[in-house]
């Protein structure tokens, strides 16, 4: 999944990777792409994670992990870092999800009845990045669909998600709802559809662009 998400990122893009699964993406970035990674605690052009022993305690990412920076990096205040996010200067953000609706609503920060642990920077990223990718398992641990007609959980943002990458495939959010772009190897359209809580359309475009067998 992280490898597939890495393919979404284009040379020259400014990208923020949410905590969790998305942090695995850099490992899969091909070296001929120059992607500038942003971290909302005021770091632009993050490099590799580094061993705690080599770490500069002041160079951390938004998950508090020790990191390095690459040539062309800059540090800034939180208000400036979120000016980048909210002002539409990030090309892409990749976020995790609890639920994504067929109209692109994202819920990833709170579950009623459980302790609310705070939204951190997720709402700013959802509202501000030009393209919002979601990277998530296709279904929840209890087997219930995460891709749904309408989110039942509190939203992180309305109509913000552009594309969803799961262990079963890649789906776009369109004005007609979910559209399959790719199926993961060995996954049938039928499996994808039964694992999804809303209709999944199959466009001729997605057929044409899809090397995997469909149906």
């Amino acid at each position: 999944m992280a490898a597939r998400a890495a393919q979404e990122l284009q040379d020259g893009e400014y990208v923020n990777l949410g905590i969790g699964l998305p942090t695995l993406i850099p490992k899969y970035l091909s070296s001929d792409k120059h992607i500038v990674l942003h971290s909302e605690n005021g770091v632009l052009a993050i490099g590799a994670e580094c061993a705690p022993d080599d770490a500069d305690p002041d160079i951390i990412d938004a998950g508090s992990a020790p990191v390095t920076v690459v040539a062309g990096a800059s540090f800034c205040s939180s208000s400036m870092s979120f000016a980048m996010i909210r002002g539409g200067h990030l090309d892409v953000t990749v976020l995790g999800a609890l639920q994504v609706s067929a109209s692109g609503d994202l819920a990833n920060w709170a579950v009623p009845g459980q302790l609310v642990r705070g939204m951190g920077g997720a709402m700013d990223l959802a509202a501000g990045a030009r393209r919002v990718l979601v990277l998530t398992d296709h279904v929840a641990r209890d087997g219930s669909p995460k891709l749904v007609e309408r989110c039942t959980l509190p939203l992180t943002g309305r109509a913000v998600v552009d594309r969803i990458i799961t262990n079963l495939g890649v789906l776009d959010v369109t004005s007609d709802g979910f559209v399959v772009v790719e199926l993961a190897p060995g996954v049938s359209l039928e499996v994808l559809r039964t694992s999804t809580g809303a209709p999944v359309a199959l466009t001729s475009w997605s057929l044409g662009g899809n090397p995997q067998p469909v149906g």
Binding site: V43, F75, S78, L115, G120
Partner: protein
């Protein structure tokens, strides 16, 4: 002009019970450890703390939580901060959760004389619609929750969109950790230790900086001052790596 005080305890000596204090830091970077420790030793109570995550791994602001000095927290993230979660859930503290960018911008606005601003962040979520628990009662019941905020449509750069109104925050004090400060209060920050520190200093009536190195005025390149001295009232020298 010399804003340097001998000890951290001198710098926090007039922080009274009930004060509102913005405390810089994100995770372990840029945390004013020594000023927090001095505040703990001073014994000040009923504090309102504005901060991103209110301590980490039991350290920093978590030490004030443990001693029950805090009654209200304005923050963006609780995460795995166990004592913060506990006191929120058991109703001991009131918590107002903000999107992280909104939190930074509310204090930047307070420091810049802007009363309120319209942001796209939080529209059609509980941030704009209200309903985020702010205080829990016995058995996990919700005693108080956030109220709906004004939402308005603006056309910016030709694009029509809805925005939520967020108000500025001004605090009595700010506790700031800098890498270098001069005697006039000009400060610089190393790497991600900058984070909320400059915004929070601007928002406070009295901003107190602990700096790993204190230098004479003129030693910091005027082009590279991250926090101009006009926003800083007090400076205390601490050792690099010193955390209490």
């Amino acid at each position: 002009m010399d804003k340097v005080l001998p000890e951290a305890r001198d710098a926090v000596a007039d922080i009274e019970d009930g004060a509102t204090i913005a405390v810089g830091g994100f995770g372990t970077a840029g945390v004013p450890w020594c000023l927090i420790q001095a505040l703990l030793e001073r014994g000040t109570r009923r504090l309102t703390i504005v901060t991103n995550n209110c301590g980490i791994n039991g350290l920093g602001l978590a030490t004030l939580l443990r001693e029950h000095r805090i009654e209200r927290v304005i923050a963006s993230y609780i995460g795995q901060n166990q004592i913060f979660a506990e006191q929120y859930l058991n109703g001991e503290i009131e918590v107002e959760l903000n999107p992280q960018g909104t939190l930074a911008e509310r204090l930047r606005a307070g420091g810049a004389g802007i009363a309120a601003f319209y942001t796209p962040t939080g529209v059609d979520t509980p941030v704009g619609d209200g309903g985020i628990p702010t205080r829990y009662g016995p058995g996990g019941s919700v005693l108080a929750q956030t109220r709906p905020k004004e939402v308005r449509t603006f056309v910016v750069g030709g694009e029509s969109r809805r925005y939520v109104l967020e108000e500025a925050i001004v605090t009595d004090f700010a506790l700031i950790r800098a890498t270098v400060a001069d005697r006039h209060g000009n400060a610089t920050f190393h790497a991600a230790a900058r984070n909320f520190n400059p915004d929070f200093a601007m928002a406070a009536r009295t901003a107190i900086v602990e700096a790993e190195r204190v230098v004479d005025a003129g030693e910091i390149d005027p082009d590279n001052v991250h926090l101009p001295g006009i926003f800083v009232q007090r400076v205390v020298a601490v050792a690099a790596g010193q955390r209490s």
